[in-house]
């Protein structure tokens, strides 16, 4: 079959909402875009464990601790589902991990902010996982089969993450003046970085149009951001917290909230590696990788030895 007729067949599938599966013909740029997007997403799940891990041993109760532990464990699983999906496109785990460790690959900038109080764990679950869910639900319909299936699993698991975060915020907001102030302070610090999670505005997003045409992305950055604001503002109000945006206002005509301009300079600065924790996060990943090396090698040596023994025994028998 000629390249042009394969392209035609591919585009027809996209049009008819038929999923593209591994080993089927696909345009090179489609494959590359997917590898970039899925591996970045996987890295985000993995690096995203770090800010929360910071509080596991200091969680204020057993109930909070088991929940946080389970959540962080879920994120490791999400990383795995996504790495596996990317591997079906012909890249290897090693390549992806190497790119993360060397700083070549990107991950979500939100994880380059520090978790300085317990309320930050509440804010992350509520806002960061909330934003992630907003992003991920439409990705369950993405055009690449393995990615869509990974997203379905992930979305099922995410909903408890957001609920546990919101419950932490609710509890703090109903507590002492000090606890309430702590919750408000966390919201103040996490609000804008959470809005930035949806990426640059549609007019500045260089990959968006093609990704939408290929149905890799199903909703635009600005659309998702607006949905997130509309969903979250009433949740803040319900627990008596204030969104730190003086321009936030209900727009009757649009049936949506108008909100202030995002500080894009800060956004690009963190993307470029100058956020408060970029270095700390990469150092932590590299340290874990290096310190785990002997375990990986020992496991492999053990497996080889077992296999050899087994084949020797079979020869004798």
């Amino acid at each position: 079959m000629s390249e042009s007729s394969m392209l035609e067949k591919f585009e027809d599938k996209i049009k008819r909402e038929v999923k593209i599966e591994p080993r089927e013909w696909m345009p090179d740029a489609y494959r590359k875009t997917l590898v970039r997007q899925i591996s970045q997403h996987a890295h985000s799940e993995i690096v995203g464990m770090l800010p929360e891990a910071n509080w596991i041993t200091r969680a204020p109760s057993m109930r909070r601790k088991v929940a946080l532990l389970a959540k962080v464990q879920d994120e490791a699983g999400h990383g795995l589902y996504l790495y596996s999906a990317a591997e079906t496109l012909g890249t290897s785990r090693k390549e992806m991990v190497d790119d993360l460790l060397s700083g070549k690959a990107k991950y979500s900038s939100i994880f380059n902010y520090p978790t300085i109080t317990w309320a930050d764990i509440g804010a992350i679950g509520w806002l960061v996982d909330g934003a992630a869910i907003m992003n991920q639900v439409p990705l369950c319909r993405t055009s690449y089969g393995p990615y869509a299936r990974a997203m379905v699993r992930i979305c099922k698991e995410e909903s408890f993450h957001q609920r546990q975060g919101y419950e932490i915020m609710l509890t703090l907001a109903q507590g002492s003046e000090e606890q309430k102030a702590m919750a408000q302070d966390a919201l103040d610090r996490w609000w804008w970085p959470s809005l930035m999670m949806f990426g640059p505005s549609d007019k500045d997003s260089k990959h968006s149009a093609q990704s939408m045409a290929w149905k890799i992305k199903r909703k635009s950055n600005d659309e998702l951001r607006q949905n997130f604001v509309d969903a979250t503002v009433p949740q803040a109000r319900l627990i008596g917290l204030t969104i730190p945006d003086p321009d936030l206002k209900w727009n009757e005509e649009r049936g949506s909230y108008d909100f202030g301009e995002i500080d894009w300079e800060e956004f690009w600065n963190v993307v470029k590696g100058n956020g408060p924790c970029n270095k700390q996060r990469l150092d932590a990943r590299n340290k874990a990788h290096e310190e785990g090396r002997w375990v990986r090698e020992a496991a492999l040596a053990f497996a080889e030895k077992q296999a050899k023994r087994k084949s020797e025994k079979e020869q004798v028998a």
């Binding site: 089927e24 699983g77 795995l80 785990r93 060397s102 496991a299 492999l300 497996a303």
Partner: protein, 96 residues
Amino acid sequence: MNEKNDWPLWEVFIRSRSGLNHKHVGSLHAADADMAIENARDVYTRRNEGISIWVVESKYVIASNPGDEESLFDPADNKIYRHPTFYELPDEVKHM
């Protein structure tokens, strides 16, 4: 950063409850079969998703070529006589 060898890739199949087939759920890396089962339990059955796990090293899976889709599967398209609705029976015959 040069690792001697990556752990091999395994495909994971889960039986969600008795009476159902094992179904492919994804893949993972593990040094050997025992570890593949353990890892599969930890990542794919954290919420009672399964009662039985199969793992098989990915390199042993032989798959049909997507390019052969038409020659393999289209011949079944025009064999409507393999379906019960092809046969015309009197209305009086209620269930057959």
